[in-house]
């Protein structure tokens, strides 16, 4: 029911957007009548071309820009088990210095899907959907139909199997390596199970809704929703994360320096 609470204002905001931006074109279809997800998208609440924020008058503060046309990212509160919540808060107290992404290690969705600075490309055939992520230069091949293989080796992005439910591509993902960071300090286990729902709402808008199950970390599943907007004219560019990654050395130096480490550590009693 809480999810319904999230969806209702999203529909409301979307209605306002249509009034502001004019006609919204329908979602395209493939020759076999399926919704066509093909395209380059970016997590964003705004239609149209790339529209990163621009500097305003005050240093570091962006100029005002038009409001979002639709909902951006929405999440239910994370139903952590007590020990997982304590671990998550400790991670945030350490300002996420231990984030595997700092070492260029692959990330599972939804985190990799919601990184708004980097585009995502969908390639669709009648038997597969391939999602390519510029961030960390990783990809997933999602066969349509069938079941998970019985020889899965645990991986960072998991094993995906898709099926069409009406206009929605539903993807079941299992087989994760434990220890990946999903969101806000959530470190998932090997029991992570994602049920993803991709719906091309209209030509510009791809809705991504993911239900996250992890009984070793969560007391119950929870749902996140991210809007991906079509970015025509944007192409994926190579991102070789390890090319010049100075972060591990900087972090190691900071952890050995009492002044620096006391500066970045947040007080557990008084987090800023």
């Amino acid at each position: 029911m809480r999810l319904m609470g999230i969806l209702i204002p999203s529909v409301f905001v979307a209605s306002l957007a249509m009034a502001q931006t004019g006609a919204v074109q329908p979602a395209p279809k493939t020759v076999d009548g399926k919704p066509d997800l093909t395209g380059v998208y970016q997590a964003s609440p705004r239609r149209g071309a790339w529209d990163a924020e621009a500097p305003g008058d005050e240093p570091g503060v962006p100029a005002a820009r038009r409001p979002g046309d639709v909902a951006g990212v929405a999440s239910e509160p994370i139903p952590f088990r007590p020990e997982a919540r304590a671990r998550a808060q400790e991670i945030l107290n350490r300002r996420s210095i231990d984030d595997p992404a700092g070492h260029c290690i692959f990330l599972a969705s939804p985190r990799i899907t919601g990184v708004g600075l980097f585009p995502v490309q969908f390639v669709q055939t009648p038997t597969q959907v391939i999602i390519m992520y510029e961030y960390l230069w990783s990809f997933r091949v999602i066969p349509i139909g069938g079941t998970h293989p019985d020889d899965i080796s645990p991986s960072y992005l998991g094993d995906s199997v898709g099926r069409w439910e009406g206009n929605t591509l539903v993807v079941d993902v299992v087989g994760f390596k434990p220890g990946g960071w999903l969101t806000l300090g959530m470190v998932h286990s090997d029991a992570l199970h994602l049920i993803e729902r991709y719906t091309r709402v209209d030509r510009d808008q791809l809705s991504y809704e993911v239900t996250i199950e992890d009984p070793k970390v969560l007391t119950k599943p929870f749902t996140q929703r991210i809007t991906l907007m079509l970015r025509e004219g944007t192409r994926l560019r190579e991102y070789s994360c390890a090319e010049n990654n100075m972060d591990p050395a900087v972090y190691e130096k900071m952890l050995k320096d009492p002044a620096a480490s006391s500066s970045f550590l947040r007080s557990p009693e008084k987090p800023r």
């Binding site: 999230i6 300002r95 991102y239 100075m246």
Partner: protein, 134 residues
């Protein structure tokens, strides 16, 4: 009322940050504005680095290292490699100082010699990382 609560969650939850939280190594409360001459540019992942000679108040030249967005993000937001900034150019930057006090900063906004301003890192209110679990 429930959907109002949901809307609040929706508004507060921003798209996740990039490679890492800049708040680990840099202090958002210690901002710095510097003008200097570029000595080296590393247009590389996961972060672009610009090195700049800056004269301090005593006239001594200090070499600063400045870190920001990766090349792909810069190129999508108005920067051109070897065109927008070059070695020898004068640059003014606004950023966050490194927590260890060294001449190292997170370059948030750059002002070119022409006066044009461009972001080189996330704008205000982002990039420091969340403080509490919800």
């Amino acid at each position: 009322m429930r959907w109002l609560t949901a809307l609040a969650v929706l508004t507060c939850t921003t798209t996740l940050a990039a490679h890492h939280s800049f708040g680990v190594a840099f202090d958002a409360t210690k901002t710095v504005t510097l003008t200097g001459v570029i000595t080296k540019i590393e247009w590389m992942n996961p972060h672009t680095h610009v090195y700049m000679d800056v004269k301090d108040t005593s006239g001594k030249v200090v070499s600063w290292a400045l870190e920001g967005y990766p090349p792909n993000v810069l190129e999508r937001t108005g920067w051109k490699k070897d065109v927008t900034i070059k070695v020898g150019d004068t640059l003014t930057i606004f950023g966050w100082r490194a927590r260890d006090g060294s001449p190292f900063a997170h370059l948030r906004e750059a002002t070119l010699a022409s006066g044009q301003k461009l972001f080189f890192g996330p704008p205000a209110g982002t990039g420091e990382g969340p403080a509490t679990v919800r």
